[in-house]
């Protein structure tokens, strides 16, 4: 008998469109050598089409949930998930990608003919991460993770002339490979302990059977946490982040960090909270430990940085800790809200960094921001809103995000963790405020900064999103509340 695999192209259509878009960008470049603008239209078009299809998937999934037809939320014999969680994760990735490409527009243009490579890599990275958030099978998830990660390694070193960028790319690649190895070893141990490779299968298995010696499974969980913890730059697996944030081209760092966080945390939440949730009592204390270490280390080290990019890297470590707090709270909607809100703020903040100190260079000293409010009110104003959003000031999306994950952890019995988290937020406030003070209170006679229209657009969207989701949280909360994993 010949078995035909169950193929449902619709389920992976957004990923196909992105991959084809990447191929098209390269082919068009080879064939016609057009100006970068044309390539950007191709890339942007494929992102837009992918996003449109994803929105349709979202509607279809809501209808299916409403009709109680949960079977239609899986595809490829259960390999791919089309639940609200996966689709929202994909949408968040696409939104970050669209903003990231726009913010890095100057960078791609400056690359000249290699701009096509950059755009193709961005599309491929998003394809990989998009598969990752939708995978039910751990091996499939690993594949997506690698496709995405390898594209990011190359992106980090795309400006070959810049020694710092090279260093960042090599470091990122070496450490990333190390982390990937640890992750796949964890997957192997999970399989050894349960004979299960799918997330849903693991969940059923672990809640259906009593595992007499769970040691292998627990080690597996630990290794998976380490591997994914690296991708989201949680302490103590964060060491690559400052070097990469500082060395990689500014135009694209926001995108790189944003999608890696979204995909990494989506995978962590899905595995920990739906597959092995029966072991929550065992691993949540360790996750809380990682959260505390990330929040405190990230905030304290951010305080002493004299480079804005390194500061944003450490603040990213702290944010990884805050999102881990949400994992401890075991509720996925708070995590998703945080991820989207933060990723957009990050892309916006790096758009400012790129505008202030050039899109392809590395480094971005704090002193360059002196008097920015006079040199470019648009940049200073947007960065202020975005930083206040990251700091979690009320009436910004950052506040709602923090409130959400803290409340979840609190009601899950981790009151002490929330107290530490609030303390860390207070420390974190100091360094965000420091940049704002430098921008507004100190004078500098340097030349005015021209802000390209596309960067203005990115900043406008990021600022509006930060404020609207802060003032009308329900506009996003209602959406993430429906974005539940199967």
């Amino acid at each position: 008998m010949i078995l035909t695999p169950e193929v449902s192209w619709l389920a992976i259509l957004p990923d196909l469109v992105l991959a084809l878009g990447a191929a098209a960008v390269l082919l068009v470049e080879v064939q016609w050598h057009p100006v970068t603008r044309v390539l950007a239209w191709v890339a942007g078009g494929s992102i837009a089409i992918a996003a449109g299809i994803t929105v349709l998937q979202w509607l279809a999934a809501s209808d299916a949930v409403a009709a109680g037809d949960l079977g239609s939320l899986t595809a490829f014999s259960g390999m791919i998930l089309m639940d609200g969680f996966a689709i929202f994760g994909r949408l968040a990735l696409l939104a970050t990608t669209a903003l990231g490409v726009a913010a890095g527009w100057q960078f791609f243009k400056d690359l000249g003919r290699r701009g096509a490579e950059g755009l193709a890599l961005v599309l491929l990275a998003t394809t990989g991460f998009s598969i990752m958030v939708a995978s039910n099978n751990l091996v499939m998830l690993f594949l997506g993770l690698e496709v995405g990660s390898i594209a990011l390694y190359v992106l980090a070193g795309l400006t070959r002339e810049d020694r710092k960028a090279d260093e960042a790319a090599i470091k990122y690649f070496l450490m990333g490979s190390f982390a990937s190895a640890i992750f796949i070893y964890g997957v192997a141990l999970m399989y050894a302990g349960t004979r299960q490779l799918t997330i849903l299968g693991l969940g059923d298995f672990l809640s259906g059977f009593i595992v007499s010696s769970p040691g292998v499974i627990l080690i597996g969980i630990g290794l998976i946490v380490v591997g994914l913890g690296f991708k989201v730059s949680a302490a103590p697996f964060h060491t690559w982040a400052p070097d990469v944030y500082q060395g990689a081209p500014a135009g694209i760092v926001g995108y790189m960090a944003g999608v890696a966080k979204i995909a990494g945390f989506a995978a962590i939440s899905r595995i920990l909270l739906t597959a092995v949730d029966d072991f929550e009592a065992s691993f949540l204390p360790a996750i809380a430990g990682i959260a505390v270490l990330s929040m405190l280390l990230g905030s304290v080290l951010a305080l002493v940085q004299s480079d804005v990019r390194r500061m944003l890297a450490y603040s990213g470590v702290a944010h990884a800790g805050f999102i881990m707090t949400g994992v401890v709270g075991t509720s996925t909607d708070g995590i998703l809200f945080y991820l989207l809100a933060y990723a957009i703020q990050l892309v916006g903040a790096f758009a400012v960094v790129a505008a202030v100190s050039g899109s392809s260079g590395s480094g971005s000293a704090l002193s360059e921001y002196r008097g920015l409010s006079r040199r470019s009110p648009v940049l200073a104003g947007s960065l202020t809103v975005l930083l206040l959003g990251m700091a979690g000031l009320p009436l910004t999306s950052g506040f709602v995000a923090k409130f959400g994950v803290f409340a979840d952890a609190w009601f899950n019995g981790y009151e002490w963790l929330v107290i530490v988290a609030v303390l860390a937020s207070v420390i974190a406030f100091a360094f965000y405020l420091r940049i704002i003070v430098i921008m507004y209170m100190e004078d500098d006679e340097s030349a005015l900064i021209e802000v390209p229209g596309v960067v203005r657009l990115v900043l406008g969207i990021a600022v509006v999103a930060t404020l609207v989701w802060g003032i009308i949280p329900s506009s996003l909360l209602d959406v993430v509340a429906d974005a539940l994993p199967l």
Binding site: P214, G215, L218, G222, T239, A286, L303, A430
Partner: protein, 629 residues
Amino acid sequence: MPVEMLWLVIALPLLGALFLHFLGRRIGEPLSGWLASAAIGTSFLIALVAAFPFIEGGAHGETSLLWEWMPAIGASLEIQWDPLAALMTLVVTGVGSLIHVFAIGYMHGDERFGRFFTYLNLFAASMLTLVLAGNYAMLFLGWELVGLCSYLLIGFWYTRPSASAAAKKAFVVNRIGDFGFMIALMLVFTSFGTLSFAGVFERAPEILDTGTATAIGLLFLVGAAGKSAQVPLYVWLPDAMEGPTPVSALIHAATMVTAGVYVIARSAAIFDLAPAASTTVATIGAITALWAATIAIAQRDIKKVLAYSTVSQLGYMFLAVGSTAYVAGIFHLMTHAFFKALLFLGAGAVIHAMADEQDMHKMGGLLKRMPTTAITMGIATLAIAGIPPLAGFWSKDEILASVFERGGWFSVLFVVGLITALLTAFYMTRQWVLVFLGEPRWEEGADPHKAPRVMSVPLIVLAVLSVVGGLINTPFRLTLEHFLEPVWEGISIQHPPEGIGMFLILGGLSVFAGLVGVAAAYMTYRRPMESWRSFEDGFEPLWGAWEDAYRVDDIYGRTLVAPGRKAAEVSAFGIDLPVIDGAVNGVAAVFTDLGRRLRPLQTGYVCNYAALLLAGGLVVVAWILAGGL
């Protein structure tokens, strides 16, 4: 008019305020005033149509959700439309429209004419937010916004130092009250897990024990005492008269200051479980009523008399709601809005005519010059004095009768209320006679003139309301009582005694008190100045104490403000600089130092990174293993 449309009632004045904020200067006088009046007037019409189902009877309260802000805590923009909200809305928009129109004449020639109506419309929108709120969060939003508008309008003529000082005082004293109010809201939230009226009131009996209910009630009283100028937080209201007179009429007599009464009446379900808190409310009300009435007797400034009179009348309302006679309290709130707005507007017309003179010793004999103002103010005076069949008689009598019916401690409060009624009649008649009768005692060059039509028409409308407004709730026809009945379903509320006999006895008593007051004042002040001056001197040193308002401001200044300022100085330079700043800087320094020490972790060498990753990974794995085995 479906309840879903009621957001328009708030939106219209809000839009008016926004529009005038940006274009007020361009469209100029008097068009911006007419626009503002049209905005609030339309709100009144909408509210009137929407209130019809309640008037016909049988309709139940409805809520309409505009926007869910934080559904988890029951904080959303949610309009609750029930008879109480309807009545408050009609009073705010009805009296508000008249005052808007009056202000067109009164503010004529002011260079910030447009800005004045911006604030006035903003105030109306805020006050409507307060009374239409369906939960405590939205109510608090309105509560704070009316406070802000009050502050802006008291200090409207900000170039006068006294006006800015008064605005600041009102702000600070109100903050004290707001603090109590906020704690009350937190207690409500921790007890119920929601701030929505429906959620709180329905479950109050099962959730609240007497202790918590009393705490919440007393904290509400603190908030209400601040906003509604009760002892000991009343001191800001007399100073608030620095604002333009239409502001005094609208905000500091007819509407905003009644917010405290409204909150207590709205929270009746909580007070129902806390008799001690209710009794405290009533007692504070009675003390305030008498206290302020004595001060009002000796004031020379025409607006100060009315200010203390307002404090005193608000005391009556507290006495009523504290005695759980909620209908009587709200009834008096309404009639008071009519005649006190009228008195303030009349006083405004007088001040206007006398070229900003406010000292009653320098008035007199104005009856011939401005008959409309004199007659309408005379009606209001008789109304507040409680002379039947004017509006004040019915509402005041219902309060006193209800308090009497409670018995016990409330009998004492009844006597206090009766004495206050006599004093009220006395000082109001004194004011009217001093201003309108007798010889002119004008300063040289004064040439009082009639008020323009735009000012006199609102006076006449309010005068008509002051005459007939009380007829909606007489012992013979309890229209208002039936109208408001559904609001306090299931809550024990105090009614006046049954039977026409008791009504005649109690009504007779209060009418007698009123007539004595009116007659005494008329006889005394109709005579020449020397005669009544010597009458006043006969009461020394009491009269002096009353005239100086018992020197409460001085006492507060010496006991609270000066030490407070001292404490602020000490804490700023003695404690904050070396200790707190030191601590903050110290903490910052500690963390910065910690950061520097941790920096070597980041060597830049991949081997070290890998080692750290491995070590961290081992710890995490070990931790998880230890947790599970």
